[in-house]
Symmetry: C2
Subunit: 335 residues, 2 copies
């Protein structure tokens, strides 16, 4: 029996929003696993805003995905072929794979999946491995929050933003979340204990934010960029920190987007604005896992997982992120 391997191929670089035909699902046979390589049967595929960046050929933080090759993605799964002594068949792993039933690549792209009592494999992958380190190192290392400071988070009901807000509360900050729609706003205040939620779709964000932050903004965890970034930047305090995690509002732009007109505030308020990528913190991930699981054990860390079933839906699903239509971490159950 020949095992079939479905995989999404990047057929064309998207211009603006991802459209039908940018990615194509094809079926191939399984490759031979060479020395130093792994073959991983994918269980879950994480869909993340950064996928859109990888599809483009702008100068970015890693190589863009090459045309006519499998789309890159973060996956969890089981080792079904190993060319290294450090992984054996049946091991559960996670890492940088592709949008495929079977992911094939250098063993160095994968690491053993941690196990935590009380967390499902899906949550260990999606929440603990993918989301928690991004939220934790961005907020703690770059943001350096102090008790009593005001933390503003955009994309606040999203996978990363919702964890950032809860970490901020645990660290003693006053947390203001910006999200799209009343349901998301209700969720982050009622369930996640954010102090205030602002619905950017209602308009008037500048005035609402001024009212929500009478002491100004000490830390801004930015997931969206664009006009929201500019508005928050305009309210930053002396020595404010802006954590540049993502700029989802601009990734679909097919031309140059003007930077924030409040940029001069970086000088006036001695701000630090810093971009980061969680992979740089790989050696310290257990620190993030610990913070996350401890808060979870205390009932102070909650999340939503937006799970879709079937690899065939991946191209359609990733668009949800850009329409704000996902509720929490977006995962594809591959099988």
């Amino acid at each position: 029996m020949t095992i079939k391997n479905r995989q999404w191929i990047l057929a064309r670089r998207p211009v603006g929003e991802i459209r039908d035909g940018d990615l194509l699902l094809r079926t191939t046979s399984l490759p031979v696993v060479g020395p130093g390589e792994l073959l991983v049967r994918a269980h879950y595929l994480s869909l993340d805003p950064t996928n859109r960046i990888w599809m483009s050929d702008i100068d970015q933080y890693m190589e863009p995905v090459m045309l006519d090759t499998p789309m890159r993605g973060i996956v969890s799964g089981e080792v079904v072929g190993s060319g290294v002594p450090t992984f054996k068949l049946g091991d559960t792993v996670m890492g940088l794979g592709s949008w495929s039933d079977y992911c094939h690549g250098p063993a160095g792209n994968f690491s053993p999946m941690p196990a935590y009592p009380g967390l499902s494999p899906k949550d260990v992958f999606g929440q603990l491995c993918v989301v928690a380190p991004t939220a934790y190192f961005g907020l703690v290392d770059i943001g350096a929050p102090k008790v009593g400071e005001t933390l503003v988070v955009s994309g606040a009901a999203g996978a990363v933003g919702s964890i950032v807000g809860q970490l901020g509360k645990a660290l003693g900050c006053r947390v203001v979340g910006i999200a799209g729609g009343s349901e998301k706003c209700r969720w982050i205040v009622d369930e996640l204990d954010f102090d205030i939620a602002l619905d950017y779709k209602e308009g008037g964000l500048d005035a609402a934010l001024r009212q929500a932050c009478p002491q100004g903004v000490d830390i801004y965890f930015d997931n969206v960029g664009g006009e929201t970034l500019n508005t928050v930047m305009g309210l930053t305090n002396l020595y404010g920190r802006i954590i540049e995690c993502g700029l989802i509002s601009t990734y679909n732009a097919d031309c140059k987007v003007a930077g924030p007109s409040n940029y001069a505030r970086i000088v006036m308020k001695r701000l630090k604005v810093q971009g980061f990528i969680v992979l740089d913190y790989a050696a310290r991930y257990p620190e993030a896992y610990r913070a996350f699981t401890q808060l979870h054990a205390q009932g102070r860390m909650k999340w939503r997982c937006h799970e879709l079933v079937g690899l065939e839906g991946a191209a359609e699903a990733v668009r949800l992120l850009y329409q704000g239509q996902n509720n929490g971490k977006l995962l594809i159950k591959v099988v």
Copy 2:
């Protein structure tokens, strides 16, 4: 005999460029020196781009100068009235005073002027006290230069930029300066040992900078903002640092200026962009003095002082900074 005190008053907040009538020279009598206060006979007045910020009422890093009060300025001079035991008549001091023959204010605004063999009082004030710490702490603390890295400096023939470049060379960087006009460009390469100078007035800065920085840009010491900032930001390397010292190209704008369209590079290249003000480093100034004087003693630290005589010329003189017509540190000899 009544001693007359000339002082420049901020009569009106400038709109765009500073115009006649924004500042007015008036003559008053000397104030009574109260407890905790000093009266300082000004010797030198430092004119700096930041003066233009202080004249405006935008939200900034200190209080704006109030209308109908003396214009704030960094001065050196001699104590002629003291309401504190720590300063006695005849002491030479420097600090935040005003554009006046006699500066009157809290003693905490002033500090004793250091003396260095081989440096004139003018250079101790202008170069060592005002310029060197700004160049040093911006470059060393925020920029964290490493041997072999490429450092780009704008305003490279200016007071701060020219020192930054020489510090960068001493720290093992490849230094590319951006300045306006061929004379300035020649000076920083021939006299100050910059590796390359680019004349932004010639146009085509993007292509010229790409050629001058084949390994990309690791550190950008920004004195000008605007399109130059955007161009350099577009060439930054992974983990690049942008030191936001000033945005002189934008201070005269009478409307909002768009931020750099290459802003997304902060995420893509994990940049750190940080504003600072040298006053935050006051406790560490001797460290900057030491670096500066050691290099000076080795013949590796040079500068130009643009000295004008007479307090009455201050309002006209500060405009030189905005026209790029000063050659080096701009000082008014007050007497």
